[in-house]
């Protein structure tokens, strides 16, 4: 939303991803990601927050160009390490994916291949990317398992995914993701499927890996607590658009968008036993978005102009921006 002159690691500009479906004769276009701009400096962590269907995972898949048809990137640029990823061919993209950008998904059991050992799967990416021969790759895999604090890494390298607990699997997946020393790690709900004590351990591990390997982290989550814990900056997504972006402390302590405010206010915490301040209504259907601001049907501060045309981003401070007419002076 804001332009930063520093040499950015990742600079996504106006990314738009659409899914086209033909149902009952009518062609429907669903814009899952609608003009998303976000950036990451080296070593920085951006939390991308939103509810299911807001487009946060599609944004991540778009960045690594893994959106499957009928989905397609229709506009925007993804500048990563100085190159526009949208202009790369599939072979070149394969050299970026896994090697320069690592990723960790929500469900480690589906992200890992059940018929190969953990050690083989980590070694595989090193071999594929030409960073090591089989033998040294295997030794490196054991080192990586040790780095992610898996006890008895030499023995565990020979285990199959089903032999590990959920937390250990997620550790193994993080080891695989950082194996080629990427500069960017994309973690999509990395702790959602885990118990709260295991979640805390994985968050600690991500923080540690970030420092040790100088990783930039794009952390996708629905949990504002996780963001508060780990992110330098946060971008809040709603119905395919980023509605608020800024430093984590500013966004969480002085939320500017009514949606961000609503999310924070709806969390239990204050006065036990009282009614929670729920956001009315439900997450909109992306194929039937209103003409104006997508949040306006649920918004308590809705004005007439909200239904006419969606607001453009407004800067509150140089690094805190919001898409809401509340912060746009009339006239």
């Amino acid at each position: 939303m804001s332009t930063v002159p520093s040499p950015l690691l990742l600079d996504v500009r106006g990314l738009t991803t659409e899914f086209v479906s033909a149902r009952e004769g009518a062609v429907r276009v669903v814009r899952a990601v609608d003009g998303v701009s976000l950036h990451l400096a080296r070593g920085e962590t951006l939390g991308l927050v939103g509810e299911s269907g807001c487009g946060k995972s599609v944004t991540a898949l778009s960045i690594i160009r893994l959106v499957q048809p009928p989905g397609r990137i229709t506009a925007g640029a993804i500048i990563f390490e100085g190159r526009d990823l949208t202009a790369l061919g599939e072979t070149e993209m394969q050299r970026v994916r896994g090697a320069r950008i690592g990723f960790v998904f929500q469900e480690p059991m589906t992200a890992l291949n059940p018929v190969f050992t953990i050690g083989d799967q980590i070694a595989e990416s090193l071999v594929v990317h030409g960073l090591a021969a089989r033998g040294p790759a295997r030794a490196r895999a054991v080192e990586l398992l040790e780095a992610v604090r898996i006890p008895e890494p030499g023995k565990r390298a020979g285990d199959y995914p089903h032999q590990l607990s959920g937390g250990m699997r997620q550790r193994a997946l993080i080891a695989a993701a950082i194996s080629c020393r990427p500069s960017l790690l994309i973690a999509d709900e990395p702790t959602t499927a885990l118990d709260v004590t295991i979640q805390a351990e994985i968050l600690d591990l991500l923080r540690e890996m970030r420092a040790q390997f100088g990783l930039a982290l794009l952390l996708i989550t629905h949990d504002l607590g996780v963001v508060a814990h780990l992110a330098d900056r946060v971008a809040v997504m709603y119905a395919g658009r980023i509605v608020e972006e800024g430093p984590t402390a500013a966004v969480l302590s002085k939320p500017a968008h009514p949606y961000t405010r609503g999310l924070l206010a709806s969390l239990p915490g204050a006065a036990p036993g009282t009614r929670l301040k729920a956001i009315p209504g439900s997450v909109p259907d992306l194929s039937e978005l209103p003409a104006g601001c997508a949040f306006s049907p649920r918004c308590a501060d809705r004005e007439q102009r909200c239904d006419v045309c969606p607001p453009e981003p407004t800067s509150l401070t140089p690094d805190h921006a919001v898409r809401c007419y509340l912060h746009v002076k009339v006239g």
Binding site: A249, P268, R275, L276, A278, I279, S282, V283
Partner: protein, 293 residues
Amino acid sequence: MMALVEVRELVKQFSRRPTPFSRLSIVRAVDGVSFVVEEGETFGLVGESGSGKTTTGRCMLRLIEPTSGQFLFGSRDVFTLTSADMRAARRDMQMVFQDPYASLNPRMRAGAIVEEGLIIHRVGTKQDRQDRVRELFALVGLDPHQLERYPHEFSGGQRQRIGLARALALRPSLIVADEPVSALDVSIQAQIINLFMDLQQALELTLIFIAHDLRLVRHLCTRVAVMYRGRIVEMGRTDDVFREPAHPYTRALLSAVPDPDPASQQPRVTFDPTTSDLQAPLREVGPGHTAAI
């Protein structure tokens, strides 16, 4: 107030038959759990996956048969009831499930799902039942015009409302809700929690709320039991347990919850099960507050 629910020394063992590749294995999923819930109370059962909280709830309703123990529900000794008596007793205790996508029959219309229990228990005439279903729809905040819709036409939050309407159809006095909001979006969770609180007050329900989300439990429950590996390790008034956790596991669990307040500096506590006596019985650590230390 009087105790509506009294669970004594509940045990549930699961055994896996030996195969050529593995020996007979026995797991004590629930290992001697006892607690009392007063009428009209909201009792929280918290713990991580594998702690036995869901198994405890399912045993109480005999959705799975307990290995041993006793469950006194009002004047009934639930585990000794014949299957006919059990069916009658289930009118009075109902369950709300975690996954609103999996717990509703996709081939049945929403109205029929809510009405099904009324038909099975032969309540009223067809007209009475349909009136009752409309009333229930309104009660849980659903549009009675949507009676003829199928589950897939509803959002997750609305589906959980259908599940709640179904549970309330027979006017039970006890609802066991197993993670009823954990599959829902954050902005929808608060709506459903509010609905639970409103209905509990209006209908004088007793609620057992099984959850892993400690923030929700603190908000909703008057008393709480913390489970670890099949046992209750701490139990008491929610406020006491959260303010002054006595068991090291409870402390670790509470410290692991990520706080959305960026200013908070809660120190992390870790729990090492090898340094704790996991067989210790519950003992009094404060008024109405017990811990297995």
